[in-house]
Symmetry: C2
Subunit: 390 residues, 2 copies
């Protein structure tokens, strides 16, 4: 019986993780969960999975949740300290890190320092603090299992060869809903269109990141840290059907790919049960009925965020953290319909130009760079008069 | 330095094996080669690779070759005994089994019994005597490395999971040149068209087997023995571009595939250097320029040979050997333009119907069933008046 703590239980990955736990009650026990501020969902999760510990962001909400749950043996905590308690829950064997954004960094590092294996769904943990996180993982002898479908695919494909024989990683990207748009089309993009991902049902922030290709850029940075590959050894390939989740090219010319129906339960279950594979997690893939898979190079002019990620990775130090934090701000403004789709990359470019990268020694320094970038992005949006383009 | 013996050095796989040895002179030394009756090519191979032992089928040709090669330190042998000497050459670490047809069986078993690892390109070895060959391999602690691109792909993909978690193997088939033909079109097929394989340049016999899908059927039987999978766990998928060489579906729904440009050097080098992968063996795969991969179910009505292979595997014992031997005869008649394309499956069906399968204890029994099937196929062709349909 593997005992699981979940950071971000009420989000998209969190609920899928709970679905996996529910499918295999003999294998997994959910011992601690931390949600955002969806108190009702969190309460129903507590009722269903009976963790002994639950955290909610807001202290007042925690108070109310405590009253609602007083018929159960569950301790309710709140705030960052609460998240850390869940992340490091003594009973847990593995902590699922699925809080979106920089908010996931502190509790994830706490989990690593408590010796928990990590099922990593949060991109920002590695994007903002990859060097620190990898060093801590080695120090505490903790394994990081990727939960992103692309990195899970790479992780699976890397079993087919020795690390020294890997030539490059090929991350696939759906290309988002605007893959075939012109620059002119992009100026007119509305929020509702950007939120319509062709293949995956995900959270709002990551859906926008998919439309700008920033998501793929963040995944390039993540792959760099997870798999120890240089930026030039990580390639992005647009594959609109999202069936081939990613590929590894070996130096002999052989390419190994992982395929499957778009479904997050697969990578989650694999991270939780590795090296075993559990039965009937994801729907079966029928390639004859899918019939056609297509591939194309990403349009880097149209989607400059992808190139910014490579630039940030090459600049090193705090630059990826600045890119990611500025992106969180820009996407929030776009989600609030206060800036246009093409303003998102503009904000990132200006924020990166205003930043001289420093190297990180502590998480506090990461958070400081993060905060700087958020303020800078806000300032850029205010100063430059970036606004809805339509 | 790995020392290699090659059975079938003058054939398609043999010459590709020599090309690999030539590309990596610091890793491989060719110590023994056996060719068919192409004396000139064999002589030039001896000059280039300087093996200490070489075999040619015909005794007279051996005499002539001896004279031609009297300036070199090479012993020339002939006949089945000569093939066995090459297969078991004391200096060899691994024997490449690349003689086409049942002729490869006896020397390959001899190599196994001499404790040589086997790079297996000959299909008939496992098709006709799979149970015996696998038992001998276990007994002599010998590893069988598949050289067929499909089985090499499966072998690579099987590294991504535990054996108990494999749901099924998916062998891809180009579908051959007549993939989109109607039954009526097939009655008019001429030899020259059947010899035009869309993607692979191979020997004549295997090219015809690709056009009838018999090749894929034989590969299903081979996969059964190599990977210990039941017939219903082995699926065939038509993939005309021959880029995805085969796939493994795991029980969690994850599918792992191996891709590459159609090039036999890749699987050969992998079999010779496993688990390492050698640099720049096959041309790099550029999926964006290939752009489209398609998949469809095989048409079992149009290409009944595929179904016959499953039937033979289920019937067990000597039936696959009978199918394979009858197919060798039928294809020979087709290559001599004495019977039509659709006569090939007819001969196989009638031969199988005339056979009551027995189980094998010895290689002699395999050869006896093989001989029976050849005679039966000849008889069928003579008796039933099968002839060129055009």
């Amino acid at each position: 019986m593997k005992k699981i703590a979940i950071l971000g239980s009420t989000g998209s990955i969190g609920t899928s993780t709970l679905a996996v736990a529910e499918q295999f009650p003999d294998r997994f026990k959910v011992v601690a969960i931390a949600g955002g501020n969806n108190r009702e969902l969190l309460e129903s999760q507590i009722r269903r999975f009976r963790p002994s510990l639950a955290a909610i962001a807001d202290a007042k909400a925690a108070e109310s949740l405590r009253k609602k749950c007083n018929d159960m043996k569950v301790r309710i905590v709140s705030g960052v300290e609460g998240m850390i308690e869940v992340a490091t829950a003594e009973a847990a064997d593995i902590t699922v890190s699925a809080i979106v954004g920089t908010a996931g960094l502190v509790p994830t590092i706490a989990a690593i320092q408590a010796g928990k294996d990590i099922a990593l769904a949060n991109k920002e943990v590695l994007v903002t603090a990859g060097e620190l996180v990898m060093a801590e993982s080695r120090r505490w002898n903790v394994r990081l299992f990727p939960v992103d479908s692309e990195h899970s695919a790479i992780f699976q494909c890397l079993h087919s060869g020795q690390r020294g024989d890997v030539k490059r990683l090929i991350l696939t990207a759906s290309g988002g809903p605007f893959r075939n748009h012109s620059k002119d089309d992009l100026t007119k993009v509305r929020l509702a269109e950007a939120l319509k991902h062709p293949n995956w049902s995900m959270g709002r922030k990551i859906t926008i990141d998919s439309a700008t290709l920033m998501n793929k850029g963040l995944e390039v940075i993540e792959a760099h840290w997870l798999f120890g590959m240089a930026p030039e050894q990580i390639k992005v390939l647009v594959h609109p059907q999202s069936i081939v989740h990613s590929l590894v090219e070996y130096r002999d010319g052989s390419v190994v790919a992982q395929l499957g129906m778009p479904d997050m339960k697969g990578p989650i279950a694999y991270a939780l049960s590795y090296p075993e594979r559990l039965p009937d997690v994801s729907p079966s893939l029928d390639l004859a009925s899918i019939a056609t898979l297509t591939f194309q190079e990403p349009d880097r002019d149209l989607f400059p965020c992808l190139g910014y990620a490579y630039d940030a990775l090459k600049a090193g130090g705090s630059m990826p953290a600045v890119l990611s934090a500025a992106n969180e701000v820009a996407v929030r403004y776009f989600l609030e319909e206060k800036i246009g789709f093409l303003d998102v990359p503009r904000v990132l470019k200006l924020a990166m130009e205003a930043h001289a990268p420093v190297s990180f020694k502590t998480v506090d320094e990461v958070l400081k760079a993060d905060l700087w970038a958020r303020r800078e992005a806000e300032k850029i949006i205010a100063d430059r008069g970036l606004r809805i383009a339509y």
